[in-house]
Amino acid sequence: MQPKPLGAFTATALLLAACGNASQPASPTGVGLSGSITVFAASSLTAAFTTIGTDFQKAHPGTMIHFAFAGSSTLVAQVQQGAIGDVFASADESNIQKLVNAGLTAGSPSIFARNKLQIVVQAGNPKHVTGLADLSRSGLVVVLCAPAVPCGRYAGQALQKANVIVTPASEEADVKSVVTKVVLGEADAGIVYVTDVKAAGAQVQGVDIPDPLNVIADYPIVVLKDSQNVALAKAFIGYIHANGPRTLARYGFLPP
């Protein structure tokens, strides 16, 4: 997946939100849920949330869940610039904290899943990467997330803990791009979440980072203040907490 220009995302999100919110009115609680919501979610949640969204819509016919996936920091920037959505699921707490501080959230964020880092390499591990220390090997092309993105920050922390200095060939804007570069063969290794390695399937394989060196990322979720369908938003979050962990585990997430 290629990083998309900022504008296209905002436009899409606005359009979806406008369409969704204009077409059906918010329903009062207890009468049955209807209408649609837009969920901003970190790109590492792409596969899992799409499945959960489908399940939710089956369980509650007449509802529509729209997703906008991107790097958490990108999404935060968009919301700060005025993008309209209902739910925000981030890959780390500090990004969602920015929204809380700006008064853009309703209620407090709750943790619904956890994730941890893993080294991603090409299937078959042709460069024989065994751990973080190998990443500083000369001649190895390593790609990381940009420090502004949660995944990049965590990777930096992990490398620091392991006392390894890595000069990446590129700092990608989101975690999917890191995986893509490895899949394409342009990079030999990258640091992403375990869920991303799982999502990429047979094209890649993961090299574990031992827990003492690893960083556990808490994934919080919150309702956005400007939501036009608070009932549905809260219902979705409730669903995530209740039925989410089973599905999320399938994709490699850790329970909250």
Partner: protein, 268 residues
């Protein structure tokens, strides 16, 4: 006094036209005005002179000027054969060289990876045989910019060559000038306006290139993080810096384009 009034050539415009033109103009003026209003003038200088900003600007200038130079060296001969030579497959070749203009830049980046990436058509051989590695390098960024910007130069120079009176070359030949002399002392000087316009358009496009660069060359400060990439990433953590950097890019491009104005419209 009369010289300050707008001068009209031809029919006077219907009011609807003026209105539509006004809206059209607003399209372009408003974003720039918005940017100027949102600029944090207080901290602007600081942000501008930060290492990241200066590094990105320097890299952008280096890459865009290099890309333009490469485009001139290879693009002018290409424009010449399109304008003067008829050969089988010319139309297809010409369409291919214009393609990057209509292709989404990211697609261009993917195509470049397919050609010059480690597993690419040429890239694998380049790495093994000559030790040249293009993705994630400054050279790769230059290549990406050249790919998207060169068509502008080729098209402009080709138009200039087509529009030129060929009899000047005849005159030069009857005076005893050999091929290179004709080219160097007559043809190229006669199409100089197109050459300059094409080079500037090419440079401006290269300067603003994002999609192909980030896909093919990646993003790393000092090596491949050109201004547009820096703005994109800064937007997430430091929107004020993003605005200031954007303003710099806009200002540079605007100055050049305004300076070029008369050449576009020909001698008026």
């Amino acid at each position: 006094m009369a010289s300050s009034r707008p001068r009209l050539r031809g029919l006077s415009a219907p009011p609807l036209f003026i209105l539509l033109a006004g809206v059209g103009a607003a399209f372009f003026v408003l974003p720039l005005a918005g940017l100027l209003v949102r600029t944090p003038w207080g901290s602007a200088w600081q942000l501008l002179t930060s290492t990241e900003a200066i590094t990105a600007l320097r890299l952008s200038l280096l890459a865009s000027l290099s890309a333009t130079a490469i485009a001139i060296v290879f693009g002018v001969p290409l424009a010449w054969i399109f304008a003067r030579l008829a050969f089988p497959g010319r139309n297809i070749l010409r369409a291919l060289t214009v393609l990057p203009m209509v292709l989404p830049p990211v697609v261009g980046g993917v195509a470049l990876l397919a050609a010059f990436g480690r597993r690419g058509l040429l890239g694998g051989w380049l790495e093994q045989a000559v030790g040249i590695h293009l993705p994630f390098t400054t050279a790769g960024a230059i290549l990406a910019e050249t790919f998207v910007a060169m068509p502008f130069l080729v098209i402009t120079v080709e138009a200039g060559l087509r529009g030129m009176d060929l009899r000047f070359e005849d005159a030069a030949r009857t005076l005893g000038a050999r091929r290179w002399t004709v080219l160097w002392r007559v043809t190229l000087p006669l199409v100089r306006p197109s050459l300059v316009a094409g080079a500037v358009l090419c440079w401006a496009r290269a300067l603003g290139e994002f999609g192909a660069t980030i896909t093919f060359a990646g993003n790393f400060p000092g090596r491949t993080q050109t201004m547009p990439l820096a703005v994109y990433l800064a937007l997430e953590t430091n929107p004020e810096a993003a605005i200031v950097l954007s303003l710099v890019l806009l200002a540079v491009s605007l100055v050049v384009l305004i300076g070029l104005h008369d050449r576009w419209l020909g001698a008026s």
